[in-house]
Symmetry: C2
Subunit: 322 residues, 2 copies
């Protein structure tokens, strides 16, 4: 049985490949700005041959959040698939160096470690094309009482429902969690992902989840709400904690009849909006698993989000302290 940690993340383990492109590039690619689409290996090679010089850094939404919790001083563990290649080594290094307990060994002989081409347009927006590679090999057999352990929270991402054994592996993880009293938190990933897997998300929400992280678009899509206000009303009818982020409008936490409204923390200068949601999740979960009340969780989330958008990259810099 693995040691008990505050937060265990299960997600796609991805190395980001960041490069600057012009608006016309997105048109030639047929990519909608700010979208995330999945691509195959051939397409990945094609896109890589089209982009300019790039910078590589570990990424992946829930992986970013786990790195963030670890950076805040929380105890963390991670389940995700990388290949035994150099990018896999980079991903695991970056997690381990923060003290994250990596629960799966790198895979041999299969697809390479996943990468996400992050295409940055002059307006600072990021459009993502993700080749899932080794991530798709995450299987039901990887999810056991040993690899999951007994964390306070398991954090799952919506994107996991995109991989072949994802739904079955996640069901198993949620069942293991339920038996040990672990809270299941789900980050909805993006609105398109919600559309792809709405039925499964609603099922998880009804049966296993204790906490949902979503932005306005995602929660409205999930709960069929026309306005954010309608979404919060619908959320209040569930026996769950909804953590809803609204960019510069701050965040709203809904737990039945209890509502916490948190303003966004003022920033000096927006440098790079990437990772705002992931870092908010990190701050919120670190505080929550440290036994803090919802208001303090929301506040720490906001402060983490404000910090990460004033630096380049999706992960809080090392030794970040709020």
């Amino acid at each position: 049985m693995a040691a008990s940690v505050q937060v265990l993340g299960i997600s796609n383990a991805i190395v980001d490949v960041l490069s600057h492109v012009d608006e016309g590039f997105l048109g030639r690619l047929g990519a909608a700005k700010s979208s995330m689409v999945l691509i195959d290996e051939a397409r990945a090679r094609e896109i890589y041959s089209m982009i300019g010089p790039a910078t590589e850094m570990s990424g992946g939404s829930v992986a970013n959040s786990i790195a963030g919790v670890a950076n805040l001083g929380g105890s963390t563990a991670y389940i995700g698939c990388v290949a035994d290649d150099q990018l896999g080594g980079i991903f695991n290094h970056d997690m381990k160096s923060l003290g994250v307990d990596i629960r799966l060994p790198p895979r041999s002989g299969g697809a390479p470690t996943a990468c996400c081409y992050v295409l940055i347009t002059p307006d600072g927006e990021r459009t993502m094309q993700t080749y899932l590679g080794a991530c798709t090999e995450l299987g039901v057999a990887d999810i056991t009482e040993r690899t999951v352990g007994t964390p306070k929270v398991i954090l799952l991402e919506g994107y996991l429902w995109d991989i072949p054994q994802g739904p079955a592996a996640l069901r198993k993880a949620m069942e293991i969690a339920q038996r040990s009293g672990t809270i299941v938190a789900i980050s909805l990933s993006d609105a398109e992902c919600v559309s792809r897997h709405k039925a499964e998300f609603l099922d998880a929400l009804a049966q296993h989840a204790g906490m949902i992280f979503a932005n306005e678009h995602e929660i409205m899509r999930l709960l069929d709400a026309k306005t954010f206000d309608d979404a919060t009303k619908a959320a209040a009818r569930h026996d769950l904690i909804f953590v809803l982020t609204r960019s510069e409008k701050g965040s709203v936490i809904v737990k039945g009849n209890e509502t916490v409204v948190q303003a966004a923390v003022p920033i000096r200068k927006l440098v790079d909006a990437t990772g705002a949601g992931d870092s908010y999740t990190a701050g919120f979960l670190y505080a929550w698993t440290s036994g803090r009340p919802l208001r303090e969780c929301a506040e720490l989330g906001s402060r983490c989000a404000a910090s990460v958008i004033q630096q380049v990259g999706a992960r809080l810099e090392k030794d970040f302290r709020v």
Copy 2:
């Protein structure tokens, strides 16, 4: 015979691994601040296990300069050894995406692609530990009339004299250059490198070189001068162009009795001093191989240096235009 380009670079092909460390870290490592030392694979693994999350980007001094010339619109080619691994793919991608003609195929079955751990202390200084890996496999056989072609300038770096067949390969490159009227330019790399290979540098300078790129420390070390003024006087006695950079004091070009003094271009904010010298070299050589007078070469060099130190990373961002 390869196409004739403005600048061919021959150098160590390196991927930088950047991470933030505190002052105490350098002490524990036994590393002098701002130094560059060579390490073996075991030490590379050890250091990597000690550092926090990192960012990866293509680097290498002369490789940065070649990328810079290409970014300015110059025609360029490159000779350097990477392995056929992911980091080698990253290095070659970043060069090719700027239009640099890569002249050697990746190596199979040998050491991995070189990496340089760039340790950034809170004062912004960078201390480097370099594992040369596949770079050490550059051999005399790689330098042929076909791979060298007939560029206007061959740019070599002092660090090449550190690898086993480096001196012999460089001698061959310089002989090929001489036969085709190609100018040999040498970037002295760093003062310690000058100390390691002073006799060879002086020999190259006397027999083959037409242009030397150096900072104050390097040129004083090479010419046994106590002051920068003494160094410029000694330089004037050679039949060579000396391009001497002095950080915020600007640069001085010495060509026999002709001296050009160029002020540093004012900047708004120093973001990251890395790559200042490499980018200066890029600007200077782009202008020089475009037939511009020395004063304009120095001015473009200064403007490139000023640009690169106001961004993160050692290479000018894509679509940089001065």
